[in-house]
């Protein structure tokens, strides 16, 4: 296994880049965006009429106008209620339409760019970097668009317009209300400094707890066999204790936040009431105006709490957005100047050398000459360079030294879009894609008919278990669906290979989970999947080598023996020694 030092994470977009990207995303929907904003502003504005209308009722009562005088403002209140409702319908629907469309565009661009990245780039960032952006960041931005943005926009507009409304009543009310602002600003800063790291910690501990439980529950047979129950009980306890501790800190933070805002609320209410007192005393405002101002301010409590509390969500959504846009903005792969296509399934390797870390050669001076349609088995201890040779031939990494030709064309001159029709790779990484099993297979050939899918499954001996699935080819598999065994998952990988139908196939697919019976069945499946194409396979059992046309024995990155099974046995070298150990004829 190659160890990676000096990881270089994928880029994160700056604030300016995020703004540019958002502007680009909103452009196709700008008319609707303007309409959405207009509807929200209008809705908030109409809702502000409520308080003055109530104030008007107060004034009418104070002036002793009699019960029937209140009818007009009440009717206006009815109109306001209906208008407010209709504008909310329009505003919410339009905001969702614009936001969701932008979100869909963004996630599609992200997936397209992420899947287009060279494997070497993904690996140098560490596999977790890209996956966490695809899972956590995409979900987080989605939630923010769905839940936080509409509430945030409405609350912010309500606050802004209420301040305007107060100013319309009398500018001094606005000044009084603004007395609360310094406390709110300080509170928001106090909270934001602490919230992000705290919530990150909370998520991390919750994740660790979940992982520990999965570990313990999933591995309970191993735990029992080795008598590790007490150890695991301790591990679970310590993980849950971490969760309790962070929960305690989170609730302290939140109650501290709301407590500070209570102070701001009091300052504001007291200010507005005092202003009312002074204005009424000087005859500048009526008692109804003062009441309206007080009602305005009481109705601000919730929107203010909401906006400040959502600032944290906004902050983390912005961070996630940066990580998504960072990937979206990566330059696309460079096209090859004069792309060529392999003419046959031959493989020529000359003077191949490779090092993951400069100075530490894992492969050196490897020559290989493989005719179309032949089967090559790579034999050697771990670390001998088998997997490295396989990934280099498949074009996953670029070699440090030497040349590789597939079908008479150097690897680097292949059209990257079509390289996989020449050489494909199946590794030990098993992944079953979530969704119907047929869809998983069609990733390899989008236009395959059901009959072709069946033929591919049949070729690798998988028809039996596929037919036994609840819905056959239509069965939902992968995460959230029917769980497949490791052997079944590898069968799928090989069936995809048959469908992709490359000239050269490179197989490196050992599985510890399969057991020897499963391993045997996979060997047979691999053998059949390679029919009619050149096969380069990392052999884990010598029987695989015995059936190959060419056996290549690697040691410490060099080819030490090369020939057919019989030739190598006759040479009585390393390969002979291994075979003798198997047949106990030492």
């Amino acid at each position: 296994m190659s160890e990676e030092k000096g990881r270089s994470l994928l880029p994160v977009a700056s604030g300016a880049e995020i703004r540019t990207a958002l502007a680009g995303l909103v452009r196709p929907f700008r008319l609707r965006a303007v309409a959405a904003l207009a509807a929200l502003v209008a809705g908030a504005a109409v809702s502000l009429v409520t308080a003055p209308l109530l104030g008007r009722i107060v004034d009418l009562v104070a002036d002793g106008r009699g019960p029937d005088a209140v009818t007009t403002p009440v009717l206006l209140l009815v109109v306001v209620a209906i208008a407010q409702g209709l504008l909310a319908v329009l505003g919410v629907a339009l905001v969702a339409r614009v936001g969701e469309n932008m979100l869909a565009d963004l996630r599609e661009r992200f997936v397209e760019r992420a899947l287009g990245l060279p494997l070497q780039r993904i690996e140098s960032a560490g596999a977790g970097d890209l996956t966490s952006r695809a899972s956590e960041d995409v979900a987080l931005v989605g939630e923010a668009v769905r839940e936080a943005v509409p509430d945030f926009a409405r609350a912010a507009l309500t606050i802004a317009l209420t301040l305007v409304g107060l100013a319309v009543l009398d500018w001094r009310f606005t000044v009084a209300a603004l007395l609360a602002v310094p406390v709110q600003v300080l509170t928001a800063r106090w909270y934001l400094r602490r919230s992000s790291p705290m919530y990150a910690l909370q998520r991390r501990y919750a994740g660790a707890q979940q992982q520990q439980l999965l570990d313990t529950v999933g591995g309970v047979r191993t735990v029992r066999a080795l008598g590790l129950a007490d150890d695991h009980a301790r591990r679970v306890r310590s993980r849950t204790e971490d969760v309790v501790t962070t929960e305690r800190r989170v609730v302290r933070l939140q109650t501290g936040f709301f407590g500070r805002l209570n102070v701001a609320e009091f300052i504001g209410v007291a200010g507005v009431l005092t202003a009312g007192f002074l204005l009424v005393r000087s005859g500048t405002a009526s008692i109804g105006t003062a009441s309206a101002a007080a009602l305005y301010f009481i109705n601000l409590f919730n929107p203010i709490n909401q906006v400040l509390f959502l600032l944290d969500t906004a902050q983390s959504a912005a961070a996630s957005l940066g990580r998504i846009v960072g990937v979206v903005n990566l330059p696309p792969a460079q096209a090859v100047a004069e792309p060529r296509t392999a003419s046959d399934g031959s493989v020529r390797v000359k003077g191949l050398g490779h090092a993951y870390v400069a100075g530490h050669d894992v492969l050196d001076g490897v020559d290989l000459d493989v005719d179309p349609g032949t089967r090559v088995a790579l034999v050697g201890a771990s670390g001998a360079g088998k997997t490295t040779l396989a990934t280099l031939v498949a074009g996953v990494h670029s070699p440090v030294r030497g040349a590789i030709e597939i079908g008479g064309v150097p690897l680097e001159s292949h059209d990257p879009e079509r390289l996989r029709t020449s050489v494909a790779l199946v590794t030990q990484e098993v992944h079953v894609f979530a969704g119907p099993l047929a869809d998983d297979l069609r990733l390899a050939r989008a236009d395959a008919t059901d009959a072709e899918l069946r033929a591919a499954l049949d070729a690798v001996g998988a028809t039996g278990w596929v037919d036994a699935l609840p819905d056959g080819l239509a069965t939902e598999v992968g995460s959230g669906g029917h769980t497949l065994t490791v052997v079944q998952a590898q069968h799928l990988a090989l069936a995809r290979l048959v469908l992709a139908d490359p000239l050269v196939a490179v197989l490196d697919e050992a599985t510890a989970e399969a057991g020897s019976a499963g391993a045997r069945s996979l060997e047979d499946a691999a053998e059949r999947a390679l029919a009619g194409r050149t096969g380069l396979l990392v052999a884990h059992r010598l029987t695989q080598a015995a059936g190959a046309d060419l056996v290549v024995v690697l040691e410490a990155g060099r080819v030490v023996e090369q020939g057919t099974h019989d030739e190598l046995l006759a040479a009585r070298g390393r390969y002979h020694g291994l075979w003798a150990a198997w047949t106990d004829s030492r």
Partner: protein, 560 residues
Amino acid sequence: MVAVTGARVLRTAVREARRGLSGAGVLLVGHQAGEAMVPVLVGVVIDRAVDGGGVESLLFWLAVLAVDFAVLSLSYRYGARAAAIASVRTDQRLRLRIADRVLDPRGGAEAGRLPGVLAGIAVADAQRVGALGFALPVALSAVAALVVAAVALLNISVPLGLLILLGTPPLLFVVHLLGKPLERRSGPEQERAARAAGVAADLVTGVRVLKGIGAERAAVARYRLTSRDALGATLRATGAQAWYSGTVLALNGLFLALVALVGGRLAADGALSVGQLVSAVGLAQFLIGPLEVFGWVNGRLAQARASAARIAEVLSAPPAVDGEGEVTPAGGAVTVRGLRHGALRDGLDLDVAAGAFVGVVATADEAVVLLDCLGREIDPEEGTVEVDGVGLEACAPAAARRAVLVAGHDALLFTGSVHDNVLAAAPVGTDPAPAMRAAQADEVVAGLPAGASTEVGDRGTALSGGQRQRVALARAVAADPAVLVLHDPTTAVDAVTEARIADGLRAARRGRTTVVVTASPALLAVADRVVLVEAGRVRADGTHADLLRDDARYRKLVLG
């Protein structure tokens, strides 16, 4: 296991948290009462001060308002903290109880449940029951708020108070009815929307597989379809959501207009003051909060009941095996007599002498049953397994497993370093080096960035399959049990390393009983004796070389 019901889980949870719950309840009652008093006091300030009162009366009533804010703020702070802690502690207690049940040596809790489901019960269901720790005090405080607001309203005006108190519940009921179809519809649609994020993560996780066969374009095209489908579903859901929020807003506004109409007429008739009118309007808006809480608590209770039932089911799962006796093996001779269970249909007899190294070749199904019986995961329908003459089924399961260690081929490692894993089951003071050498795990360590201190990651995922398998084998060897049973220990290891492991294992277990269930020629070659099990009984018995020479069926099985 004691039969436990969901109701009992809930009762126990509440009883254990009663101190925290009552404290939180009292404090949150104080908070709600304080909140209810805010509009009341604002009305009083308007009446007593703004409407022609003096500065002293303004200052006095503002001071009263300040005290009210202090009470509501502090009682919320400490009440919410107490409630959150009661909730998270309840959650933790349940989680630990479930973990203890799963870890019980008698087993049985995991029967018929996938690990993800069981872990989900321990996390999500425990959390839902724990959430009562917050919901119950909040419900109590909502009752208090309702009472305070009702008293205040009736004090202001009986007819207006009755209108608000009797009008608000039907209003909320109408809102609830409106929301119901939305809830039903939005559930599946939100699920489809969430799927878009899930599929993106799934494709990116499988990126190597996609790139290996050049399926990137197909995957992107596929994703676009999923994403557009999700978009459609979300937009339909938000359309319904928009109508719902608009209707709720309008209904609230209309109710307010009604309150203003009745209140305004009463005030004009002199039945209440203007300040009281302001208070009543404020209280009408305030009341919606506590009343909504009842609906919320009701939902929480239903969830908690369902979760408690699932937890109870796990806690009362019957044990798979039982027993009290002890076994302290001397030589470690294993005697299997008339073993019949599942795939082993014919009464298997098998003898392994103390200190012998024996290979067993069997079909996958038979191997699993034999290993389950040796490891006491199950007790056979018929027959016995004895170690040095002591029947395992009469022993305490943990004691039986101390005598006979069955190491499966799935090579599961646990979070920690390589070193921690190797020594996990070893007697205190064991030197890990010999076991690591035997399993060729020293080779693994030599290639790791931090050597034996390298963290293996969740379930060992930082290592390759072959590396994991060797570390797991070293762990089994380091445990040094009287009888070691290995199942396919080298399936992910290359042939060169496998041959070295066979020799190393043989040397490390010299004089200790070892059974290897495998079809690997390299391992079978070093065994003293190989037993071929077929159709539930021993079909051939001899050395690897002899069987290869004399038994065509055996040759086909191990070299085929």
